[in-house]
Symmetry: C2
Subunit: 216 residues, 2 copies
DNA sequence: TGTATGTGGAGGATTACATTCCGGTTACAC
DNA sequence: GTGTAACCGGAATGTAATCCTCCACATACA
């Protein structure tokens, strides 16, 4: 899909395009989707001119990065769902990898600007919906298995992924990574269907996270 | 302490000063410590001139807000530690309220800019140290009580507070608040000293969180 | 009621970005 | 080889946002 613009490109142009998306994803992840275009171009090893030729404005770039990222995450999530022997294990994998998966880019992309862009793009909406469906399936599965506590829903899990994303900072890269994994570990233990304390409120659906708020 | 500048002020000036700090705290919390000075002034109901007269530059304002906030949080944390019957309950209270406590302002104030400011200010370092000590005491206490899992340390808890801070966004204020509380609930269950899965890495100390990294 | 203290906000200076444009390269069809 | 359409980098320009100063006017309070 959308093969046209990507296959018509000359080899080097195609390569640059990919590098730009990769660089943008990395930079968006730490500086948000309003990061200077020039910084992205530099990180991609191209000139701003090239960046603008390929993506006429910031919006186009955000769209492209988001779509690319969703696609990638969806693929990984599907693989996990298919390969892991139980739904619970698939969920475990998802949470543990949500950090590196840069799931951030799409979920944390909730700058007012990016938000409207993502909500507008039909393809991205589609991806998001599929991802949420997958998640809902896993949640139901893990609850059937009797491993996941019954008072949570897909929205809760998505929310926790989102929370985890927000870059945990620490002394060093390594410590930060470890910190995030420990946090996941605690959460997973908290998600197990053992005694536990009943959670406040009601289980969150995926619609609950359809953020509507603006920031300013 | 630091009574001089605060008591010498004329009554109305004093009032304005307090309003500015309150407004800045609120705005920093959502827009970060680089929020426009004018916005802060407006929120405080004063002119920019007044803001600048009281706080010669942004750095001074950040310092003041951070100090004020630490003081306030420290007071609340101490009260919780003193009043709650067990260390575990005090921890529970802390986690549940970390969101509203705007503990955010200080912990999440990790914009490169703010970071160096906070690290420089001796009074703020002092506050931070005291808060961490208090936390360490509670952690040890709750572990002695046999309720808190033994493979975590104060740094782990502080990290989770920090993670929680990062504004959970959702459909509405209410849902967001609920989402945060549910997340805390799951974490608390995960922190209990029941079977559970061993956590990866080693327990985090408070020094592990002394962030050194710059963002850009 | 005099005056030291305090106030608001217009406006000049500065910065940080987005975006355009064009002389020079490069892939690749033939 | 070689011609040319496609592509490239980055200097240059335009623009918007924000900082911070300054001063005519207001207010608390001795």
């Amino acid at each position: 899909m959308t093969a046209d613009p990507e296959t018509t490109l000359r080899a080097d142009a195609r390569r640059n395009r990919d590098q730009i998306i990769a660089a943008a994803r990395a930079i968006f992840a730490v500086s948000g989707p309003e990061a200077p275009m020039e910084e992205i171009a530099r990180a991609a090893g191209v000139g701003v001119g090239t960046l603008y030729r390929r993506f006429p404005d910031r919006e186009a770039l955000i769209r492209a990065v988001a779509a690319d990222n969703f696609e990638r995450v969806l693929r990984d999530a599907r693989a996990a769902a298919a390969e892991k022997p139980t739904a619970w294990l698939a969920l475990e994998w998802l949470l543990h990898h949500s950090v590196e998966l840069q799931l951030s880019v799409q979920l944390a992309m909730l700058s007012p600007r990016a938000l409207t862009i993502l909500k507008t793009d039909p393809q991205i909406r589609q991806y998001r919906a599929e991802l949420m469906d997958l998640l809902a399936g896993l949640v139901a599965g893990a609850q059937d298995e009797g491993v996941l506590r019954p008072d949570v829903a897909a929205g809760d899990i998505a929310m926790m992924c989102a929370v985890l994303m927000r870059q945990v900072r620490a002394k060093s890269e390594d410590v930060a990574r470890m910190a995030a994994q420990r946090c996941v570990g605690v959460m997973l233990d908290g998600l197990r269907a053992i005694p536990g304390t009943p959670l406040p409120g009601r289980a969150l659906t995926t619609e609950d996270l359809e953020m509507v708020r603006q920031q300013q």
